[in-house]
Symmetry: C2
Amino acid sequence: MSATIREVARAAGVSVATVSRVVNGKGPVREATRRRVKSAAERLRYAPHGAARSLITNRTSTVGVLLPDIYGEFFSELIRGMDLAARAQEYHILVSGSHDDAEEIEAVLRALRGRVDGLIVMSPMASASALREIVPEGIPVVLLNGPARGTPYTTMRFDNRGGAFAMTRHLLSLGHDRIAILEGPPGNQDARDRLKGWQDAMAEKAGARGVRLPGDFTESSGFAAGQRLYASSRRPTAVFAANDAMAIGCLAAFREAGLGVPADVAVAGFDDIPIARFVTPPLSTVRVSIADLGARAFGRLFDRLSGQDGDAPRHQTLPTRLVIRESCGARPPPGARRRNFREKTIRLKEESR
Amino acid sequence: MSATIREVARAAGVSVATVSRVVNGKGPVREATRRRVKSAAERLRYAPHGAARSLITNRTSTVGVLLPDIYGEFFSELIRGMDLAARAQEYHILVSGSHDDAEEIEAVLRALRGRVDGLIVMSPMASASALREIVPEGIPVVLLNGPARGTPYTTMRFDNRGGAFAMTRHLLSLGHDRIAILEGPPGNQDARDRLKGWQDAMAEKAGARGVRLPGDFTESSGFAAGQRLYASSRRPTAVFAANDAMAIGCLAAFREAGLGVPADVAVAGFDDIPIARFVTPPLSTVRVSIADLGARAFGRLFDRLSGQDGDAPRHQTLPTRLVIRESCGARPPPGARRRNFREKTIRLKEESR
DNA sequence: CTGAAAGCGCTTACAG
DNA sequence: CTGAAAGCGCTTACAG
């Protein structure tokens, strides 16, 4: 198909070594030779063969990305952030998604040997030790949303607990004392941390009573939870959903039941997906920058790959931001910055270690 | 890092050729030898080196996916569909997104040589000839949403025109005769085809008057369009947005202006993103299966790669489905199938060539 | 400044 | 049934 280095060498009347030097811009080459090679390469539309190059250099310029079964905008944004960061370093992204058990991940990881220089893994398994069994050693790994401690891996996550804590506290400060939480999927680390934040805030306030409802991050599960809440005898005065999709499903259930938001019940979500400000009423939520998470994860991995970083695992927690719109019925909190669309956002302190 | 075939060979007391035969399950090997090799490979956690294998077999088991700058659920769903289909064939997906000019794409394509067996390309450029200049020859390509004719490539798309035509006709049948369209980005082929469908339907009805408003597929652009429509002197009685995100933005603008939907104005979208049924009021739209598009695109490419398909380019158009909810104010159309959430869906005839 | 040669880790005819 | 050897397309010391 494509021309090889040998053909370019012949066309330019030089050795393959010289072509290689010109193409890679390293090693001394006389200007006249360089031009001859350049033009031959261009004429033949030469592009170095990636696999051949990888074999000898032991670098693939590719990172593997393993993700659990993810829907919606989270996935896009994450890939987007990583892809942009990777391209800037002339790296490629090999994606494999929809994993829900260890065996599957292991199979993919084996197949990736010799194809990637490093790995970004968002594991559906909470256990770090399980992961260590599976991930090949000697290859740099950045873990997304995994456990922060007790891992030999560098990790990166949002401050889920902090964001949930702040939002719950905000609801409490508005006078709510019966606050329900719509939980995410049981095994999901984000879901756990958000639940934890809600619990911690609720524990702070004497007399506050919480209700926990199961969910799975889909709009439907939020809708179902909303229906249950509506029918319950002592209805909570506020609902904190562990993500926006569920909050929006819940809003739909309340609307259908004729329940006013925020007049009859306050609702808040988590993520600040683009659509959050356009639903009825505009949704109060916790903003995270998913693309940023992706870009930083790649950046960390790249640092490791280029030896700019030590070998010790690092753990970083990205800050979140409270976004107060209409669904929680709040007046603009003091000190909040004014933004478009009548929303106020509050930057939360980063919780980094 | 990882064990090589040579190490496994030594450990098992055989030649590398034999290890290769065992690992690949081809060629005759005595059962006892096979077991010895298997156990040695397992003990050493041997995994074949992808690049080395690619170099000799001239297959990478990887397909490259080039996409324009895409946000939201479209991107996720597409990748998801491709990834699932690819995994079933033990293929990998190399993704590169956010391209908006030819030069960028060309650079990525060159870098992909020797890394992928085939390409799935969704080009921001409408012109097929421009693409031909860039795409390396001799490598199978499936074009997503590109022009159907005049290309040497196999193409795959939704029946955008047909879906838009059916929805517009539906609005007309409800008695609307002033129907606005919120257009997508100028260069986008989906956007063009949807506009065409609207135009064709409007042309059929004597006395129908259309208004065209610019948009870019984002909620914000739909919001802005909604505001303009509200302020306009002769307000249309129905709005057809070229995608759901814009329709939802438009709904938000109408709500803010105190305009009732569908009482004062009907609204319809395109895509049927998961959230469409949960907005207020639930959105009438045209359903497409994005994951299906992705899976089929991979399938076609795979057929080409495994020689199961001829060399002649094939063009396929995937059918869409009308989903009637509340935002367009229709009564259930006759013959529609009943689904959950009080919606009716109508399968539209496939328009395949 | 340039070239001949070794070698990266595999697979695959070809002998035996 | 098994092994020795060639070769996939590159890069990189090593000579010259």
